[in-house]
Point group: C2
Chain length 219, copies 2
């Protein structure tokens, strides 16, 4: 009999981790070896436990880290996949916008499931990914297929992490100087980021940039 699948669970909500741990611990052949509440903790746990798989949420705000040092699920995924090629990452999140999905896949995730999935789909996903396959929720698979067919038509431009960060603060109503202060960069840098955002979204005002980013699932 083979060794059980060793899993690390990363989610910022304790009650959600409890649900995932309860599900996986009650499943034959799966063993939860650690839990993390932040992206950074997930990376460290993966490093120390060398699990077969990390079940990763995407947004895991870390109150202890500065805004510029937050490590979301995609960034944590990229780190883990880079440092431990034998460890696979399966995303389990509520977010299903194109940029979340593509960001995670591009970061190296081997699967992407939604928290709305039935528990047996999550268990099956864990097994598939550890077996070297890909696990995608049906809606996610459809999104990727659509992207393959219409790479340029459906391709909403992507914003870099910093551009997204700046735009979020614009959406919060901050001016350029306030954003500069919040991110510890200069106002000139904020303006440059915004100019790039405007070009990518094909807009010419910050207000429209925000609403278009919302329409395209970027905010």
């Amino acid at each position: 009999m083979t060794d059980p699948i060793r899993v690390v669970v990363a989610d910022d909500h304790p009650i959600v981790r409890a649900g995932i741990v309860a599900l996986l611990s009650a499943t034959d052949g799966i063993e939860v070896v650690g839990q993390a509440a932040t992206g950074r903790a997930a990376v460290e746990l993966a490093r120390s436990e060398r699990p077969d798989l990390v079940l990763m949420d995407l947004r895991m705000p870390d109150a202890a880290a500065a805004p510029g040092e937050q490590l979301d699920g995609s960034q944590a995924t990229a780190r883990i996949v880079e440092e431990q090629p034998a460890t696979r990452v399966l995303i389990l999140t509520t977010y299903e916008t194109d940029d979340h999905i593509l960001g995670a896949i591009e970061a190296g995730a081997s699967g992407y499931l939604l928290k709305a999935a039935p528990p047996e789909e999550i268990v099956a996903g864990v097994r598939s990914v550890v077996a070297g396959q890909t696990a995608l929720a049906p809606a996610i698979a459809a999104t990727l297929v659509r992207r393959m067919r219409e790479p340029q038509a459906s391709a909403a431009p992507s914003l870099s992490a910093r551009e997204t960060q700046v735009l979020r603060l614009v959406a919060d109503g901050l001016g350029n100087a306030q954003i500069a202060t919040a991110l510890f960069i200069s106002e000139a840098t904020v303006k440059t980021h915004l100019i790039h955002v405007f070009e990518k979204l094909e807009v010419s005002s910050r207000t429209r940039a925000v609403t278009r980013a919302q329409e395209w699932g970027m905010l």
Copy 2:
């Protein structure tokens, strides 16, 4: 020894319900008597099981219901509290905006906790609410205190039809002169409308006015 506290758990994500059920079932004196994935199902379960408490999420999209017939957590709370005065509702959600909080409290919820809370806070909350007390996450309590002190700021304001019209065009990225042209009014009039919108929404920029109006369901 008294009867255990009978609880219904309502959350659209199975894995989250699994976590809550695992937590509560492992707690002495608490018995989970039903689970619901939608607001409507929660109301029906509360009707048939007559639990002491319903642990309720706020956003529970119901794929089987028309948009106009969705029953979110606040609406479900109002129904339950109206039909079964002996059943208390404790909100457990990720949303902590003022309008979510006030909506739930006004609907009759006896408590409001966040999913980010440690599990023991959730258990304590269940016990408090069933004992007739109120359970609020610290951040939520602070919000309510602030509202008590500034009641005039508490009600979500309404925008006049013209104000809404102007704001929609702002959301589309138009400048004041363009809005004036589009609506056949002067730019000075547009500015006056926007000033009133800013006052009502308690913002000082058009971008923030748009995102706040969206948050408050005005756009």
